[in-house]
């Protein structure tokens, strides 16, 4: 039976079980002429859960473990000297060929006698496995159903049990966040460690040359994997972005919060927030066809050689992208400064701008710094703009008018195309990703701590 049919059948049975529990609880109530502990629907749900949940759990565990078990059994059945003579990768290919043969399809070269025998064995195992799964599930369904049906009584606290299951399910959902983080850390650490078995960490973190050579598996020529040019490029682009975004974003926030008449705020706020919703690929394209040529021609006029794709182009456009980010965060923080502080300064005869500059901003400073840090972490992790507009030139230099390369660009370059998890050329992407993750995580944690401290101050 196919998996989908199996699950569909189970769902139908659960629906029937719900109905059974519902009618049964009503009958019990009528027979004994008592009030049940819970409303009939809860008995229905509980019976359905007893009937379906164990079988469902079994199914999930089974579909996770059974293929591995079968693979093990098939490997066991292959001649020992054959298995011993093969490397891990060869064995994997052989097993894949066997499983294709077992599905009744052909493989290149037809398959040897041994492979055919193993495929037969595998197909047989599959049938057994499938039959026993169905049988076991049926047993669980019947057992659960009988148990639950027999337990329907006025004293059975159906609602509480159903609610416990619901709460457990909700908690399981919120654990997904933890699994995601664990997944990120483990996957990147694992692959990065593999990378560090090719290249020493010192060479990676302190190297000043980035030249990974070709992405060919097993090639003896090893490239140079120095992080510093990429890190430098990232810092340069992000710094330019912040130089654009912080003044504009902060002044926008101040003007919106303190000066702007209502009508202007109602127009300007949503318009500027549109900038936050535009996909980064669009910014990249904008940089490439509008800002890059524009800067380049400005450079011609004033006699500087500005490349179309350069750190300046990418940084400028990235700055535009994070303006709304800076302005909305700062806006929140400025409006949180208590009114009494403002009133005090104004009462002493300070002008509005003096109040803002000498009272409001210093009071809001920790929060604003936090906002800048968050903006910086966003700029560092941004990918598409730099992929399109930074020019991909991983060389250490200090000229913002020249092309640079960043960590994110290099991740994309190294991992697109052939995916081969064995060569340092691909694995370096994970080492870079880990570096990026640690940097942004550090910035975020500092920013959150700073912002939280600031909030407590005025709450």
């Amino acid at each position: 039976m196919s998996n989908i049919a199996l699950i569909a059948t189970l769902l139908v049975i659960m629906a029937l079980a719900y109905h059974l529990g519902l009618t049964r609880s009503r009958a019990v109530a009528a027979e004994n002429d008592v009030r049940m502990h819970s409303r009939p629907g809860y008995y229905g749900v509980l019976v359905a859960l007893w009937c379906g949940l164990p079988a469902l759990v079994l199914f999930l565990l089974w579909s996770f473990l059974a293929p591995q078990l079968i693979e093990m059994l098939v490997t066991h059945q292959l001649p020992h000297e054959l298995v011993a003579s093969m490397s891990g990768r060869e064995l994997e290919t052989t097993l894949r060929r066997i499983s294709v043969l077992a599905e009744g399809r052909g493989v290149a070269g037809g398959g040897s006698a041994q492979e055919l025998a193993a495929a037969n064995h595998m197909a047989r195992l599959h049938t057994y496995e499938n039959l026993s799964l169905v049988a076991l599930m049926a047993v669980l369904v019947v057992a659960g159903l009988t148990y639950a049906k027999r337990h329907i009584s006025p004293q059975w606290r159906a609602r509480n049990q159903v609610e416990r299951v619901i709460t457990f399910a909700l908690a399981a959902c919120s654990a997904v966040a933890i699994f995601t983080t664990v997944g990120i850390v483990l996957s990147m650490l694992g692959e990065a460690l593999k990378f560090f078995s090719f290249i020493s960490p010192a060479e990676f973190f302190l190297g000043t040359t980035w030249n990974p050579r070709f992405n060919t598996a097993g090639s003896s020529a090893q490239g140079e994997f120095g992080l510093l040019p990429l890190l430098w490029g990232t810092m340069m682009v992000s710094a330019i972005a912040l130089l654009v975004a912080i003044p504009i974003g902060l002044m926008t926030a101040i003007y919106m919060a303190e000066y702007a008449p209502r009508w202007l705020r109602n127009i300007a706020k949503p318009v500027i927030e549109v900038l936050a919703g535009i996909p980064t690929i669009v910014y990249g394209f904008f940089a490439l066809i509008v800002i890059g040529p524009f800067l380049s021609s400005v450079g011609d006029v004033i006699g500087i050689n500005i490349r179309t794709t350069s750190a300046l182009t990418a940084g400028l456009v990235m700055g535009i992208m994070i303006i709304p980010f800076v302005s909305s965060l700062s806006d929140d923080i400025i409006t949180q400064v208590p009114k009494s502080l403002r009133d005090g300064a104004l009462g002493l005869g300070a002008t509005k701008s003096e109040t803002i500059r000498q009272v409001v901003l210093p009071a809001a400073l920790p929060g604003i710094v936090g906002a800048f840090l968050l903006a910086a972490s966003r700029a560092i992790g941004e990918t598409m703009i730099v992929v399109l507009a930074a020019g991909n030139n991983p060389v250490l230099h200090g000229n913002p008018f020249e092309a640079v390369s960043t960590i994110t660009v290099t991740i994309v370059n190294q991992l697109t195309g052939d995916m081969d998890f064995a060569s340092p050329q691909s694995l370096v992407a994970f080492a870079l990703g880990l570096t990026l993750f640690v940097i942004t995580l550090g910035l975020n944690v500092i920013a959150l701590v700073v912002v939280r401290k600031y909030r407590q101050q005025y709450e």
Binding site: F285, T351, S353
Partner: protein
Amino acid sequence: MSITIEQRRQHRLMTIEKSLAKRHRKETRFRRVGLAAVTTGMALVIILFASILARGVPAFWQSTVYTDVYFDPEVIQLDEKPRREDGETQLAFDERYGAWLTQASLINWQSLIDNAMEDALGVDVESRQLRDLRALLASGERFALRDQFIEKPSLLGQTVEVKLLASANVDVWIKGNIDRSLPDARQQLSPQTREWADRLSDEGIIENAFSTSLFLNTDSRSSPASAGLAGAFMGSLFMMMVVILLSVPIGVASAVYLEEFAPQNRLTDLIEININNLAAVPSIVFGLLGASIFIGYFGLPLSAPVVGGLVLTLMTLPTIIITTRASLRSIPPSIRQAALGIGASKVQTVFHHVLPLALPGILTGSILGIAQALGETAPLLLIGMNAFVANVPGTPLEQSTALPVQIYLWQGNELRNFFEARTSAAIIVLLGLMLSLNALAIWLRKKFETRW
């Protein structure tokens, strides 16, 4: 003595007055700087949209040749279109039909087009000029003609007006997107083709018609003029389906748990810190996660929308959780207390009262999260969705690309003059979809907004 006091007073007043004027000037300056910042922000939005629209809108119309084609029976030597006979199995029929299609593909459709173009131009083209003639039309158009005939075999022997796409270079030439004064060596088209193109355009045979190919075709390498967004659109649709099915239920469930049920303990704190951090993790890191876990470890197929959907789900989860929590928090505690007071259980309170009231906020947050996922590019590049795919995917497990990735691929195409406009058009489509999602979210918020 009194005079000096009076003088001092005067002097002090003068100083204050002077400094006051200076301070007021400073005030005005500060204010102007603020206004300038706001204006800059708004101007940037306008410049961005204007430049994309100016480039992209013309690409929705494309140079199209309207010409009479004679379906010459001498060229089209084809059996009758097979019909399913009684008692024939589907398999046998499919086989017969496939053979017929192969036969149809072997016909020299190009020669029909060549003849039609010769007639339209009123010239007799020698074989060495054939290249120039064929450069007028998109190379994929012979297949369009074939499909038209397969659809309606009764066209045999008739002369019908058909609509054929002009080639990308002709489109660029006629729209003036290339400098016409460039020397021959730097032009994409030969002088003969350019002259013909101008003539056909003057005679109204080449017209600028609405480009349906942009929406109905998939990406094409051999025939850039007929490259379209259909495949990418389906890929994005499948991914969004996965995202909606997974991230909305899981996100809402975890927000409900954290906001309404979770006890205050270490574990809950850990989950909260996790969610806040995940919200700020760069998207490309999620791509790395997908490449190593979903593809490397679980062995899911490369370039499949299902994998893209999973990666985007993990990426949007924090957004949905955070907005849902905010909207749950905005429901006043009095409602919970009232429900609990008349004997509802905790779960009943949440599911019967709090959640329905928070629904508009949850919907708004989910839609915004989905819009964000729709525009995401970087993680998809790492799980192979930038592969060239020539078919519209039929299931989420087939190879596919996505709208933003298609934009990335097109902007890198060598045929710059043509694809700059095509890319902008694709961006307009993407932005249109995202803005309508955002508008929907705003509308929902306005419609159901309740102030407690």
